[in-house]
Each structure stands twice: as C-alpha cells, then as structure tokens.
Amino acid sequence: MPIFVDRRLNPKDKSLGNRQRFLKRAREELKRSIRDRIRIGKIADVDSEHAVSMPARGTAEPSFSDAKDSGRRQHILPGNKHFAPGDRVPKPGQGGGGSSPGKTVSEDDFRFVLSREEVLDLFFEDLELPDMVKLNLKEILAFKPRRAGFAATGSPTNINVGRTMRHSHGRRIALRRPRREELDAIEKELAILEAEPQSAAAHQRITTLREELERLERRRKRIAYVDPVDIRFNRFDAQPVPNANAVMFCLMDVSGSMGEREKDLAKRFFVLLHLFLKRRYDRTEIVFIRHTHEAQEVDEETFFYNTQSGGTVVSTALEEMRRIIEQRYPSNEWNIYAAQASDGDNFVTDSERCIGLMDGQIMRLCQYFAYVEIIDERESHIFGSTDNGTSLWRAYSAVNQRWPNFQMSRIANAADIYPVFRQLFARQPAFQKNA
C-alpha cells in the first residue's frame, strides 16, 4: 500500500528565490552588453528593433570540457542507410544543421532575451529628463482627460450604468423593495378567490390579500428602482500633456584636430542622447551640424565618417543652428536640445562671439544645451576638475554661470561617457545651480 501525499496545495514557486537570484545576475550582464552595443551601429539604429540577447558571461557555469575542435574521436550513430566502411562524409559547415554528431543545444547556449523596451528601461534606469518639471509649468499646451475612478456628481453623459445599477440593486435588497413576482403572486391568488363563489373565509382572505397588495404597492412607490443616491459618474482627471516633439542638434567640430578617437567619443555621446530623447518624446529628430571655419547641415554618414579639414570657427555652427530653428523648428512646438562636442580649440574672438550668440538667443530657445569637451587622455588629470582650459571652455564657463539649462563636461575616454552623460542629465535638484 503506497502512501499518497497531495502536494498541490504546497506553496508553489519554490524556485522563485533562485529565479530572482538569477535575474539579478543577468541584469548586470545585460547592462554591460548594451553599453557594448552602443559603440557599433548608427545612432537611430541603436533604438530601432533591437532585442538584446544576453551573452551568458556572468551566468555561464564553466567546467572542464573537451574542445570540439581538437583530437580524434568516434561517433556511434544510428540510422545508416547507405554508408560503407571507408566512405567520407563532409563535415557540416560552421553553424550548420543540427545533425552534426555530438552537437546538442546545451543550457549555456540559452540566451535570455529582453525586449527593446526592457533594454531601454534598464539603460535609463534612474535618469530623468532635466527639466520635465519646468516644461509642465511653463508650457502646458494641452490637457488630456484620463479615467480616474468614479464620482457622485457629474454630467449625465458620464453616468456609469454598471456601477449605478450595482448600487441600486444593493439598495433595493437592503430596503427590501417588494419584487414584481411577489405582487404577481398575490394578484393571481386574488383573481382565483374572486372567481370562486364567496364564502366567509374566502372573503376574509381576500381582504387581507387586498391590504397586503396595497401595502406592497405603496412600498414599491416609496422605494425607487433607481434613486439619485445610486448614480455614479465616471470621473476624469485632466492631465497635462507635455509637448511631444523633440529635436536634437548635434554640433561637432570636424577640424583637423578632431581625430577618429574624438569623433568616436562624440558619437557615443550623441547615441546616448538620442536614445534618451526618443524614450521621452513621441517624435524626435536629429540635426547634424558640423563645422570647420564654416558650418553646414549634413547627414549622419558624413557627420561621422567624412574627413574634412580646415580652421575652426565655432560660432558658425551656432548660427547655423539658430537658422535651422527659425526655419523648421519653432520653439513653441519643439523641445530643442543641443549637444556640442569639440576639442575646445577656438579663436578667442570667436569664443566671445559664441557667448554672445548663446546669451542672446540660443539658450532661450533650448530646453537644454550640453557641451562636451573631448580632451586628450594625458590631459584628463590636469583638466579633470579645474576651470582652466581651452578658449571655448572658458567662454562657456561664463555661459554656464548664467544659464541653468546649460551643462558642460569633459570626456577623455570611452569609460567617461556614461558617467558624464549621467552627470549632465541626471535628475537635478530643480536647477538650483545659481539660484
């Protein structure tokens, strides 16, 4: 006689704790893989339909195992149809079909796939748009009604019938409103009794039934089927809708001093910014402006990969940006962001001109302007935290004093980008910088 134990009521998810431990591990892994991914690919591509599959580095379970590509071995296989000893069978190519001997999908091939949404959530964990608050206060453009529970008052169009009837039903039960069937039953009995020849007892019965009927009908009148107290209305909250367009200006110095390394660093910064904006706005556009001694709007390919050389006049880029804003991106419809990457080389006179442009117009039009200076790795420890620096850096320092929506930072190598980006775009204590 076996013992039977019904375990179905035992707690399920015995492995929940183990799964949470695994996911925690996987998360670290995933973050690393996303950062690697940014390095390759176009700015807009990074955010397109990429589902990042996790390389199982941190979650691999290594052990000593035989290398498949070494030595001599035998496979004993079933299902020979036509082979004779000495026949040669070509090996399946790399990544070939699953029929190659001894090749089975192991658990370490298991990829933990996250959707693009999840990836970006991970990526932008605790990053905030710098002036979301200000945006709401300053330019509330539209309100969108949003369902927010029920209310006892409201307009007739918003009556919630289901909810109202539920209340009415409850009230009717609580107050014992006579039901139609009860009345029908009494009337039926009356009809039968009245049709029969009258006797004293029957007469008595008819009187009590009449009284009962009258009482019930009175009660039915007093207790309404639907009472005003039952009625519920759908409640709507007006929610401010932020301006839903954003344009991002990428300004880059492409003069001779900006080498491959500098451009690569700048690109990674722009990728981050683009991803970030895309996450917040329905529609984001990117404008690439590069400049030497003159500025021009170009496509992404040209922006990053074309080699052009010449002198450096930074203000041309700012002017080009202002011109494009006037033409295509009216600032009451667009949230304008700008990121400028440069090695900071500029003529002192032109830097003065830049200050003028920024103070005069650009900072008023922009939600946010981030200046990233790409410096030599050897200089990073010198310039790390001081205000000394290139002519442009000093000029922008003055702008930085006056405008809360301006930020500047220095990048010396790839590892700096993410921290700097976070520093520039981290949730700031309501722009108290110079308050």
Binding site: I3, H75, P78
Partner: protein
Amino acid sequence: MANQASKSSQTSKSGLLFSGSDWDFKTLSRAYEAIEAIAIEELHLDVYPVQMEIISSQQMLDAYSSVGMPLMYRHWSFGKHFLYQELLYRKGGRGLAYELVINSNPCIVYLMEENTMALQALVTAHAALGHNHFFKNNHLFRQWTDASAILSYLDFAKGYIARCEERHGVAAVEAILDAAHALMEQGVFRYHRPPKLSSERQREGVRERLEYEERSYNDLWRTLPRSKDGTKASGTDLGMAERKKTLNLPEENLLYFLEKNSLVLEPWQREIIRIVRVVAQYFYPQRQTQVMNEGCATFVHYTLMNMLFDRGLISEGAMLEILRNHSNVIFQPGFDDPRFSGINPYALGLDMMQDIQRISTEPTAEDRDWFPDIAGNGNWRETLLDAWANHRDESFIRQYLSPALMRKWRFFILADAASEPHYEVASIHNERGYEKIRAGLAHSYDIGSSRPDIQVVDVDLLGDRQLRLEHKVKNGIMLEEASRDATLRHIRRLWGYEVSLAAIDAQTGGTLNERSTSQIGE
C-alpha cells in the same frame, strides 16, 4: 471497431481498474496494488516502499530546476535552469516529464495532476516499480548511494547553506558554490566507495571536521620552523615523494582535495564544498546508468501494461493512450533526421532488454554464437534481473548488445579527426563491424573515459604553494579554452594561490601545454 470496444468495456466493466480519464486517490491506490502485484509475481521485482506525491505542472518545473530533488539549497543556477525549462515548455519545445522519481527510501514518485488516469497507471508502473526496483537492486546504487539518508542530508545541507548566507552574506556563499559547482565533474570518487551518510553521524561529522580544520590550521604554522632542522626543504625528490604521500597524491577528486587541503578556506566554506561533493557523488551512479535505468523502467511499464491489458484490467481506450505515450518516449530518429539529438536512452535500453528476452526464449543461431550463456535459457526474467543488478551502461552494452539489434538500429561509426575536413565511416553493422560498434558504443557510455581526466599531482606547501594539476590528454582531445580558464579561476579562488594545469599526452607523456592562473588574470 467502436462496437467491439463498447462491447468489451461492457463485458469486463467490473474487472477494469479504472474507466474514464479522471483519477482519484482511491483509483490510484487500486491501480498501484494491481500493478505491484503483477510486478512482484510476474517480473519478480523487489522494491522500496513507495510514497506517491501529486503535484502541479508548476511544481514539476520547480522540481526539475532543483536537480529533481524535493529539497535543495538555494543557488541562482537553479533559477536559470528553471527559466530555461520553462522557456522550452512554453514554446512547446518540450513537454514536461510525466513523472519524477527520487532514489530514496521510501521511494518518492511525483505524479502530475494534469495526467489522465491511464497515464498515472503508466507512471506508476514506470517509476514506482521500474525505477524503484533499479534503485534498490543495482549494485552501483547499493554501493554508492544511501537511499535512506539522502533526504535528511539535503535537509541539513539546505539549512546549513541558508545559515551561512545569513552569517556571511549571499555573495560570499555564492562565490564558493559557483566555484564548487564548476568542479562537480571532478568532485566524485570513481573507484572507492564514499563513507555512508547518516543524519546523526553527519552532524557529529560536522563538529569533528571543524575541530580538524582548526588543528590543520595550526599545522600550517608549525611547519615554519621545520625548514631549519634540515636543509632538505621542498626541493628534493625525497621531500616531494613524502609530500605526495602525505597528501595522498595524485588525487582525482579535486573537490575533496580542496576541501581537505586548501589553506585559505574557512570551516564553513569547506562544509559547503563538501555538500556539493556529496550531491555530485549521489548523482554519479545515475549518470552511469541512464540507459539501464530508463530501459528498466520502460521495459517494466511496457510489460506490465500489456499484462494488465491481457487480464482485462484496463480498457482498450486506456491502452491506446498508454501506447501512444510509450511510443513517443521511445522515439529514436536517425542521425540525419533534424530531430536527432543523440541516442535516446529509453529506446536503446528498452530495445536491449526486449532483445535479451528474445534471445533467452527464441534464439537464432547467431545469438547462440554470441550469447552462449543466455541464448535459449528460457528464463528471461532472471537474466534481466541479473543484468539490472550487476551492470552499468558501459558493461551492459559491452555484454548484451546483439548483432541483431545493431542491424535493427543500423549503427555505424564515424571517425572524426579535427584536422580532417570530413568524417570517415569506420565501421558499419556487418560481421567485421559488430565488435567495433559494440565496444565503441560501450566506451562512449563510460564516464571515466569520456570525461576529461584531471588530477592534482603536486603542491608545494612550503614553497610558493602552487597547486599543480595534470590533464591526461587522450587522442589529442584538449580542453575547451575559455571554460578551462574560467574553471581554473574558480579553483584558484578555492585554493587561494596559483594553480597550474598541464596537458600531458597520455601516450607519450610529453607536456602539450601548460596554463597557469598567473596567465589568466581575474
């Protein structure tokens, strides 16, 4: 057909064990009694008492992910395993097993609530009798595992590791478990039997070991002045031989070696390594007897179900369902089929056992040549009971794989040299190939030879304390480099000092390469 079915179900209605697909405990119990009676009387099976547990599919997934044990310590890799299984299950890539059985006394069998009654009967025959008999009688399990103590040991292990996590933090415990898991393959004694566990002695043992650790820790300091009493320090051959002797080198059980000799581990860390080692050892016989164990269970359920049907105890409908599931389980695609993923142990085991049945009752002339001992002896029951008790996969195949079966399976051997762009067909199922195929197949089930052979060969406790490992390279098969380095890193964590691994050619004795943790970096 329908007519016939309804007629038969009508005539034998009173005799049926169950009708319809729903099950309840009374029916399960009745079915078990009937199946057990036939199993003992007809197949002469000998089983542990059974405990049947009904679980849901979610719980089945849970059980999978804790290596099938009802109790297991916590570790992220089990969570990974769960998600992997769940993914396969959700995608429909893999059904859940209908059953899970644990080698313990009483033998625990999990039944899924979703199963129909016919399936529950099948599972009862397969697991509660087939596997159960195998666990109780096979010599590997008898010698190497302690069915009565495993559950209480795991209970101890789970509690112990949880307490360590509380005291030392999850991350610290995880680091040790990760490292120990990486060495599970190298954490078993292959040739001598591990001491029996008992829950009382276990706890006693913990205390003893802790004391021992303290003593050995002191020993480390006492070794310091020893170098001055003689100039023979660590370098001389004599010292080396002595050292190897005291450390019992070479040692193939890396986990055991590290647990006993590492200079940096704290007592609780040693205990965790020991737990992993005990679990690895417990599963070692299972891994050596996959074909036999599944074959035995499948043979038993197939035979018993047919006997039940012949006696009119189960309906045709139920039998059809059972046969359909049975044939799914023993499906074996050929090597060129996209579904091929190796040899199905259920199929090979069942076929070999039915073949033994055939050889002992209706042998051909060929069988008489190949199996003079059993051909025509007429007593297939005893022959099978004997095979189940005394073999593991490797020896079972070497002994019993018949030419007839090799022809049926159309076995052939592909020789695979990594340097060649093609395989070469070495042997096929013909007179000249039978022996080679049989030996080759048996060899492929020999864990001892199919896993990398890695041993601790030397350690210089008085010098730089480098731990030297040796990998015996057979047929030029090297270790996969990325996972080798990662594993060495784990060993270094447990050992605390440099670890080096030399690849030694098994034939020539020459060193093929040497890898040290100093080359790897963190």
